[in-house]
Symmetry: D2
Subunit: 337 residues, 4 copies
């Protein structure tokens, strides 16, 4: 039985607590910490069978009974708490991104050196049934050597311009998942990136210094070419697809829907829109990634997504920004690390 | 908080116990009873947080703390335990069928008369996302008056001939779900039935006196014509579809799959087979039907599927048998009740 | 080079004339006859390179240069002209049905005995790409022994009640194609039929003594069960599908559409309706059936659809009527022939 | 009645001759010219009702009866014959590309200045049912302002390395159709292009100085971003899809197949591969483009694809080559014209 502490009682912290409580029999959440802990959160924790609901995450790090922590706090705290938790000897599951600052990720990497701590970063989409099936087909050689990898990733609605301004920008906030997906599907790293980006959804996002639409081309280490297309607003819902084309064929996914019902009327043949957003579409993957983390601890194996998997998409995001600024293809290696 | 006892710790009893334990916050299972209760079951019950694991279901019926029982025992016990539970003042969720003997169902109906007990029968497919969407479209008038209702229901593999012999026959064991579905989709009762049936899958089933393939036509009270096609063996998996055609259009569902991944190779464009069998396909519906039962208790509303909804498909199944024996259309009213 | 005469210059006569003119290099239409021949038809014939446009079809039958005739005149003339053409030594392609009166079909059968004339009846749907693919899969054993055959056949709009009254009724006018299809897909004859029919589309059709909605169950000679569902009005367009389910799998077709374009908006994911009606959907099959007829003459082989293939669906249609009248399953053998 | 001469009796010349002969009633082909005219071609011409089959295309240009010419000769002759035909006062339909040399296209443009000659270039895919439907949806505003345009264009098998060496390269030989498609769907010109290309299909193509795989990003004049992905070898067949995503939705097409038949077995749910190659997929579009050309002459309207529409994709192809050579985004305006 693995004893877990959760740091951050926001939306994703609660999702993980629920997953552990209802689906993982060999783990339990003992403590949840949040600086804004209030009566409602405490009540919720009690209903989930969580003994302690506290304000200070250090109560978790200093509890000798706790084996592992899930860092679900605000992004700017991820790297520091990671380092503290590693030093406290806790296994760490850290929500993405570890940090937007490469130097801060370096500190986590250094903290991990020589430790026996398991570290996993929360790129949950690898655990989505559709994307996992695409990757499995590629890894099994069903399409031969991959030649072209396409990822479509479009949000149903844009963030506020205020959020856009502080989010690190679309590439680090949203595309970072797609950067990870491209690495996952190709089975290797990206070497070079070129971005064609625009502000087409909301001029306020442009005024805040960000973009909301992009087509991103990547040259992968295995020779494949990857292309990501992003938009901050697909009015028909969360559009999350991937396709890998190779020497022996192609594997592709469609969006998930609530039901397969199709209505035929004088107006046409009408199917359902995709599941609305990430909580609907990726709920199952959130549970699976935590199961894998707990399982890696129990079986003393590598986590499926280590600290370097947390670093690489950040480097890609920084290279993407540079490509937009300098209007040229940028090698990932140009981003100093 | 509703306190529940579960009678029968087989597959479906465990499914319901898990649903309540992990998804229904305002209910808990206090006791589970099974005549074959053993250490493994006891261990499992403990892991689910169920206090008591006993052999005699009467411990449940006599426990004043228990509000409701789920009858998941063998089919031949459903009606008797239903009557006992009703007399004990417990709300009852009874797995389908209540009984194959109409007289025994009558006893349950009589027991319910004048009682304040909620009674629900386990036709779970009404709670399946796809079928519920079809019914909702029909009920919302999106296809106008229904004219033709089609239900395809094919199992992935046949039962043993031994099972077939004691199961009550295909119509009462398997088609009974489709009889309920037809009533659900049409929004009314069937008046007449004609069956064309055959033994095409396994001659042993024929020797045991049953059929394994059938096309069943029903005249519904609202004038619509319904047709069910059944097979005991679809080698590509559990085939569960419905289509309702009406004056203003059609609504239809496809099968569910694990993923949307499609592989294109020199061999063709290959998608996944349907989810294998009822535990895979209908797991969510099992949870939803129990949620609705508990909710009906909490809110003191009618259950979505009362005792008469348990009776009607049995009458239809008996009429189906008669149609096969007498090679003619049979009115449901011919089945004495 | 086969020289052809066309009897009847209505819609289907023109379709066949165009097919021969533009697609069949080893045949030409020399003469077209129609009792209502007028200047417009004559102009059209000239534009198609047809030398003679006449009123009396006997000019075709007495022309020694003409090898073959296509009988596209009104239904009540099909059998008589067939007999005359056979006696004149012309190969005959006859639009369906040969006649609604079995005695009249007998006369055609008798005329053919001992002659060297090729005779083909116009059940064009066998030449449709989708249905032909289903049949080919079944015939190739890809689904094993067929168990259940489903044909959906729904017209986009009902005929006038006047037409319904003189058309021979839905079973002989519309379902006759589906009866042929069931024989084609099963690879054998039907033995017994049961019909559940209703008037749900237009009460005037009912007053005219016909039905407009039906589900028809057939027991096939090979043990398979076939089911046809018909409606005179599918508001979303011409619904023409088939599915054959067997011991090793299932093969099924969807409707054809003009394009594969799918529009995703806030309103849903919207595809095109089926092609509107038989001229849109089956145009290619009309050309192919005539190509096969000409080819059978050139190569002196059997036509793909002989006079008995013209008879059988009529027997099935008459049995269907009897089933509705007598509310019971009717053996095809009960229809005297 | 428009009298047409066809220059070049190769595959596409024959396709156009057949289209005119069988589908366009108000045009006829009087003469076909080919330097390699032989008995077989003469026989074929006769069977098509073409009076003259000659070696020298000048016989067509000097024939005062001939209104229009279709230039279907080898690519290197397109521009010169275009100029000669324009000077001879013939309307010109010219197969793509007019030339790979911009200066030669200029000569055609100059020849057209002040003439009354209709000129159309053969980008047939605009007349394909699927692509035309996508464009129509965009032009009708159904998806709002376009933001992202995706074109997938993959051939079923690579050309020989010898052909690749003399074809002008993949961008001018194959992608040129996609460049036209992007302009068609966006409704405007491209301003800048970036290409990520590779040799992944056949090393011999690389040795011949060409590429066989590419992802091409384009910034369009209306702000949209377009992306084309190309491969010289999709083993599952000719992959021809497009998707336009915009402010109010998305419209997308799938590949065409011979039939809609789907086979479900223990191996999966198996649909057909796309139509094999351009003759299968685009046959209808070849007929439609010529119909539009003839119609433009008859009605004295602009052709749907003028000489500038022939020039622009060549400029895009040359810019694509430059982008590969210089590893940077290239403005189309950089290509001197």
């Amino acid at each position: 039985m693995i004893t877990v502490g959760i740091i951050g009682a926001g939306r994703i912290g609660k999702v993980h607590a629920t997953s552990i409580g209802t689906r993982i029999h060999y783990a339990k959440v003992k403590t949840i910490a949040d600086p804004f802990m209030n009566d409602e959160m405490i009540e919720w924790a009690k209903s989930m069978g969580i003994e302690h609901a506290v304000k200070d995450y250090r109560e978790i790090l200093t509890d000798p009974e706790i084996d592992a922590v899930l860092i679900c706090s605000s992004t700017d705290t991820h790297s520091n708490i990671s380092v503290e938790a590693i030093h406290a000897g806790k296994h760490v599951f850290c929500e993405k991104p570890i940090d937007y600052d490469v130097e801060k990720i370096k500190e986590v990497i250094q903290a991990l050196e020589g430790s026996n701590v398991k570290y996993q970063v929360g790129f949950n989409r690898r655990f989505d049934h559709n994307f996992a099936a695409v990757q499995a087909a590629v890894a099994a050689g069903k399409i031969g050597e991959p030649h072209i990898i396409r990822v479509t990733s479009r949000d149903p609605e844009p963030p506020s311009a205020e959020y856009a301004a502080v989010s690190g920008g679309m590439f680090l906030d949203m595309t970072i998942h797609d950067f990870d997906m491209v690495r996952f599907l190709a089975g290797c790293d990206a070497e070079e990136i070129f971005v064609e980006a625009a502000v087409l959804v909301d001029p306020a996002i442009g005024k805040a210094g960000d973009v909301d639409t992009a087509v991103i081309t990547l040259k992968m280490a295995n020779g494949a070419i990857a292309v990501i297309d992003n938009s901050r607003q697909a009015v028909y819902g969360y559009d999350q697809r991937a396709e890998v084309f190779g020497a022996k064929g192609m594997v592709a996914t469609a969006n998930d829907t609530n039901t397969t019902a199709v209505l035929s009327t004088v107006d046409g043949v009408i199917g359902e829109k995709p599941l609305y957003f990430f909580l609907e579409r990726y709920m199952e993957s959130f549970a699976k990634e935590v199961e894998c983390f707990i399982s890696a601890i129990v079986n003393d194996t590598d986590t499926p997504l280590g600290v370097m998997d947390g670093l690489k998409p950040v480097l890609m995001g920084l290279a993407a920004k540079k490509s937009v600024e300098e209007r040229r293809p940028v090698k990932i290696a140009e981003i100093s690390f």
